[in-house]
């Protein structure tokens, strides 16, 4: 189990090879291929317990290493130094070259990945700001043209997901008529009859809608017409007072 964890720490066969090279302080341009292959294979023995996909990649590398090793054993068999000279002069490729190139290239990106990790780390320590809601700047300025019903559905579901408040709307009674005049007349009359004398202004609720203002005004007119109340004004633009007309 401990071995498994250790092997999973490697991102792939190249990563494992780089680790072995580093651990054994091997000169990457002159890899003792049989030594490295032996070490690599001994690691592979522990791989059998790992998932097959990963293992196959490691096995492919094992095959590559063995192939390089066998090619190096083929004549002309000279000392390492001479071998290098020959390959330089006669253009005979060192069988290890391709592997070295791959290792170097992989190492380059592995190093960049480390820098990216640091960048990610430092980026997580700074805070950005949520964009300000600037829609008020152009609120009046829109056209229907590009909106579809799907836009509405997705917008709505996004809002509802973000806001549970919407689910807490209370059940309520809805009036069909905006504000029946009959009801308003009763309201106004009951206010005036209980207080006998009311200023006209007081009959209007604060924040009343325009429609409500009109209906209230109509109610007052209606009550005057019905001879139930009397309205008077002491000066032009002065306060209008409404009084209950005592039943004769």
């Amino acid at each position: 189990m401990a071995l498994n964890v250790k092997l999973e720490a490697f991102e792939g066969p190249l990563d494992l090879l780089l680790h072995l090279i580093e651990k054994n302080q091997i000169n990457i341009y002159d890899i003792p291929i049989s030594e490295l292959t032996d070490q690599y294979l001994s690691y592979l023995e522990g791989l059998e317990k790992l998932d097959i996909n990963l293992a196959s990649e490691f096995l492919l590398m094992a095959a590559t290493l063995l192939s390089i090793k066998s090619r190096m054993l083929l004549p002309p068999m000279k000392s390492g130094d001479v071998q290098m000279e020959i390959s330089a002069v006669t253009d005979v490729e060192d069988p290890r070259n391709e592997l070295v190139d791959r290792l170097m290239e992989y190492k380059k990106y592995k190093d960049i990945a480390m820098i990216l990790k640091e960048k990610e780390e430092s980026e997580s320590r700074i805070f950005k700001r949520k964009p300000e809601d600037l829609s008020f700047l152009w609120e009046d300025d829109f056209a229907l043209s590009k909106i579809t019903f799907d836009d509405l559905i997705s917008t709505f579901s996004r809002i509802i997901r973000n806001q549970k408040v919407a689910e807490n709307l209370n059940p309520r009674t809805i009036l069909k008529e905006p504000l029946p005049l009959k009801i308003k007349i009763k309201q106004v009359y009951s206010i005036i009859s209980s207080r006998k004398k009311v200023s006209f202004r007081e009959l209007f609720r604060r924040n009343a809608s325009r429609l409500e203002l009109i209906v209230t005004f109509l109610a007052v007119l209606e009550l005057i017409k019905l001879n139930k109340i009397k309205a008077y004004q002491n000066e032009v633009f002065g306060e209008i007072t409404v009084v209950l007309k005592e039943e004769a």
Binding site: S145, I147, L152, A166
Partner: protein, 168 residues
Amino acid sequence: MDRERAMGILEGILFAAGDPVAVEDLVKALEVPKEEVVRLINDMKQEYNSKKRGILISEVGEKVRLTTKPDIYPYIETIFKPRVKSQLSRAALETLAIIMFKQPITKTEIEAIRGVNVEKTLNSLLEKNLICEMGRLEAPGRPILYGTTQFCLEYFGLNSIEELAKLD
């Protein structure tokens, strides 16, 4: 703590927060008395007064926040406005979507959902004949109830509100 450093920390906190931050929280973060935090904020106000600054610090209740100076908005508009010109603004789209699926609904309820004042948006939707008043709620203040117009339903390919219910 060094006063200049404390101002820097306050600025950083308020910037990251976005929303207003309670003075109590600032006291907790800086570990200085409340009076000192208030003094620091007043000093920062002076700093932000400079022409070099495009943001300002303000208090809402017992909370503090950073906002853009109002005179910057025309410049912001030149950058961001054209993007939404030919389509419903986000505010209008969200408000319309809420009314469409929650109708009949009052202004207060819409505001509770969107978290912003929707007065202007509602007027604009009324003008475009996308929504209409559908009566009043029997509740204190008798608030107006809004719903979508037939025109709006048809525009989005629906025959009636009942069809919406089926989609739920």
